[in-house]
Symmetry: C2
Subunit: 190 residues, 2 copies
């Protein structure tokens, strides 16, 4: 079976991908190849960060690899927080503080449209491929709902009245930016 690395230390994300690609690929996580360090995410865009991570694995460990990065892009904020989504209010990765900052910045804006966007970069041999998933919606004025993480409590996807955090993981996983990108990767690989 062909080996491929998914550049994550996170067991949940890895299991999710194994379920999707496991019939055709032996999917390894970073821990499985003894890459215990954080891979620097120094890019200015989601595309750069995903590619940096995939390239790091390919160059240092020799494996074919894919990596992802995700951000919330708020139109009226010039697509911020974007690549800085996880650390918008500081490097402590405090979701609550991040949401507060976005809500504060949107106070004076009429346009509350936003999108979640996931980029997956894949390196196979010497070729690079990119897969994108996005979902448009609106940032509401105060958080609602308990499931999920990040900006889920303040994002209502188009066509729904509940936030991602109210919709729950089952529905979110069906319609999300991340699923869309993963499905494109899957269609390509299988």
């Amino acid at each position: 079976m062909k080996k491929i690395v998914f550049a994550t230390h996170n067991s949940h994300k890895l299991e999710e991908i194994k379920d999707i690609l496991g019939a055709e690929y032996e999917v390894l996580g970073l821990n499985d190849i003894n890459c215990l360090e954080d891979i620097p995410e120094t890019g200015d865009t989601l595309e750069e960060n995903a590619l940096l991570k995939a390239r790091y694995v390919k160059e240092k460990y020799g494996y074919d690899c894919f990596a992802d990065d995700t951000g919330l892009e708020v139109y009226a904020l010039d697509n911020a927080p974007g690549v800085y989504s996880a650390r918008y209010a500081g490097d402590s990765k405090d979701s609550l503080a991040n949401m507060k900052k976005v809500l504060k910045e949107l106070e004076t804006k009429q346009d509350r449209r936003a999108q979640f966007r996931t980029i997956i970069s894949l390196i196979l041999g010497d070729k690079i491929y990119r897969f994108e998933g996005k979902i448009e919606g609106e940032v509401i004025e105060a958080g609602r709902g308990n499931t999920g993480f990040g900006y889920d409590p303040i994002f209502v996807p188009n066509g729904y009245s509940e936030t991602f955090a109210e919709l729950g993981s089952e529905i979110k996983n069906k319609i999300s930016h991340r699923s869309l990108a993963v499905n494109k990767l899957k269609a390509f690989l299988l």
Copy 2:
């Protein structure tokens, strides 16, 4: 079997702990309790961050929990980078940039002593316990060695002439700050 949560998303760290405590405890990771978000690490000390994470799990999910935090403390730098070790040169968690910053700051200093320190906070019921592991050594002038991560290439533990990155994971795991803290936790729990 008693359940206990180790506040990490990292499958490697979780497996390591399961090997140590698995005979007596069912050890769950954050993903296993469906906590998919990063827990904010807003503390100013290793102790605070470890306790924040353990408390977050106890309060939000109800489980007994332990959490760890680790830092490199350089004496001549007022114990910096300490709690900011992973993000000393910026929030992109770039180990190379972090090391460069420490080396730069040490250029004018005579005293290059430092210690790695790990704190584990444990919440059992309504009681809080703390376990510390540390190892003293020196920061050398340029990195050496390929294994490990973080500041391993520039840290030589006392009694050795190789850096952590040269010693390799087998030796490092026997003598490290982290092992020492984990062993204290183990002795307490078992």
